[in-house]
Symmetry: C2
Subunit: 382 residues, 2 copies
């Protein structure tokens, strides 16, 4: 279980195509994992996800812990059964969510109404976003919750400092993350779940080096890179990814957390990343925004023979636009012949079908993108 076989390797870069085995089936990498925060990828049924091309989905430990609670999900036979998805699932550790409730993170976002989380060696004290109730989560708690949820791949509870943190702060986060990883491994019981450690270190080369070497030494079968998606410049992100993938073993899948935009996915694949998750395709859809292939676009995608544009269908110029988003797209909206004008109408009417159709379109875009990147790797163009 959890074997990773490299099927094809680029001669030009660190990009590769691989098969990652899990208890609920194989994943072909590079892979994009849509985010199903509360146990559902926004508006998408399991059948929709399969049709769109999802191979694995991500669910959020923080949200599911607060509601409906991991005990109920365990009683229901685990997350797969509870949500009706029989393919691989990854749960995050809840770390990112509780840290986004920390004082500097709240300050950055201008939030004053939520009590900040307090971090100690033991764990994190935070206040539920649902009812403000005081909660405490330790690395051990996170593992226990994730074992109850029963995902195929679970994540270590890491300390993810806000972007632009001081080096001292990031250094502290790295050390804490490593100590918490060791504690997590001590309590982990289930052998049918893979625990993935997370490399921290922000944009500091020596810290990334240290963190990557440390998690590598645990030899856990897959490795993740965290702390790069929030608020940093793209070049810094690419650089940090490169430092990490220079160290993280080639024989295991590498997961870049919280990325991202199509061009970022391609850049990261080139640097040896195999797994991605991001709320963008689903979140943008909720705001009326779609990704669309475009040859003339300024946004190029490395390894793909197309660029893309990000189109806001709510703009008034689409009011009378009777063309579909993309003639070549296989999504429900495009294949169904639904024009931009109609989609815009549904969005303005706050009809959930509108958000669903845009979500489906964006997910198809990104699933097809990783599929195209696989082909580029095989054909030697990436």
């Amino acid at each position: 279980m959890f074997e990773y076989k490299i099927n094809s390797k680029s001669k030009k870069s660190k990009a590769r195509v691989g098969f990652f085995n899990t208890p609920h089936g194989d994943i072909i990498t590079p892979v994009f994992m849509p985010v199903g925060t509360v146990g559902a990828v926004k508006t998408m049924s399991p059948a929709d996800l399969e049709t769109a091309g999802a191979e694995i989905i991500l669910a959020n430990t923080y949200h599911l812990h607060l509601r409906p609670g991991e005990n109920l999900i365990k009683k229901a036979g685990g997350l797969h059964k509870f949500i009706g998805w029989n393919k691989p699932v990854l749960t995050d550790s809840g770390g990112f969510q509780v840290f986004s409730l920390s004082e500097p993170a709240l300050k950055r976002r201008g939030v004053k109404t939520v009590k900040p989380a307090r971090i100690s060696e033991k764990g994190v004290e935070f206040y539920s976003h649902l009812d403000g109730s005081r909660r405490f989560m330790t690395p051990e708690d996170s593992i226990k919750i994730q074992e109850s949820l029963g995902a195929d791949i679970i994540m270590a509870f890491d300390y993810c400092p806000p972007a632009n943190s001081s080096k001292l702060k990031v250094q502290e986060a790295v050390s804490t993350t490593h100590r918490w990883l060791a504690r997590s491994l001590k309590v982990k019981k289930r052998s049918d779940q893979l625990l993935v450690p997370i490399c921290q270190g922000g944009v500091y080369r020596d810290l990334r080096f240290f963190s990557a070497e440390t998690i590598k030494s645990f030899n856990l079968g897959a490795n993740a890179i965290g702390g790069v998606s929030v608020g940093e410049k793209k070049e810094k992100i690419y650089q940090a990814v490169e430092w990490c993938t220079d160290i993280l073993p080639e024989g295991s899948p590498r997961y870049l957390m919280g990325i991202g935009y199509p061009e970022d996915i391609a850049e990261a694949v080139e640097r040896g990343i195999d797994m991605f998750d991001c709320v963008l395709p689903t979140r943008l859809a909720r705001h009326g925004v779609v990704w669309k292939k475009s040859k003339s676009s300024v946004k190029k995608i490395k390894g793909a023979d197309y660029g893309y544009e990000q189109v806001n269908l709510l703009k008034s110029k689409f009011k009378g636009d009777l063309d579909i988003i993309d003639e070549a797209c296989r999504c429900k909206a495009c294949r169904g012949g639904l024009c931009k004008s109609y989609l815009r109408h549904l969005l303005l009417e706050r009809e959930p079908l509108g958000i669903h159709l845009l979500t489906f379109h964006n997910l198809v875009f990104v699933f097809d993108l990783v599929s195209d990147l696989r082909e580029s790797i095989k054909s030697g163009t990436l």
Copy 2:
């Protein structure tokens, strides 16, 4: 076009199974038309509607006139093309919506913030629910709008008085409705649309008789019964339906507007009704409520070998309920093995997938109900 062939007739009652031909295909009656107010049945894609079993859908002239406007839809190639639904469509006249903005109707609902509509011989002055702008709609306008929208079946602009109106008021509504029908026929141009007249008359036998005889005399190929769904007692509704179907010709489909509950549909089928529309299956779903077959239930359905219950999944007793709604149901949620606890969780999280799954379930329930009623007619049990 618009032929109606009776395929099977009950020996016990006025119930019958028929084929109703339209430019976008045949409808088998009795039929239930889900309501797609703004050009979409809430959360349901055209493919979803087909899978659930929809044969014809209803769209609202009032809403589509206000947004996005019939001119845009005409330019897009008509409603079928605009919404991606290639099967029959019926548009209402907008009458019911503008009259629900009339003073007595607003008073009944306790609404004080909307300016009341004013009815004159010429038509109805009303204020848009979107922006409060003053509008005027005549029977001729309604036909023109419906010709631009391009549904297969269009409805005459009728005067639908609120429930519990005085007999004098209802009498006035009946006469106005008839005069407006004559005006509608004068302006109607398209031969590929069937205009359906509406019988009014409230719960008054002589008025129903007069109205049914009048619209029958126009010999228009289908007839509708309006003004029975709002606020009247069930027995009065059944009685009014019976008076009408005694008169409305057997050789044409009869459409009972705005009904309804499963038991009401069965009672009306028994009285010779062929077509139904109602927001209930979709509206109840939005409030967490599902219909569920139940042999022991108090709510019996004539002609069906089952009763049903109306279940509110938001109730706390379903928090830990790991059973699906109905083992025998073929809907996405039930067939997908999704338990009540998960559905309740999605509803509480305001995840649109929850509403979608409940809508799908309720629509399957009602499509299967009319299908079962057809079988009961054929087998002679209704």
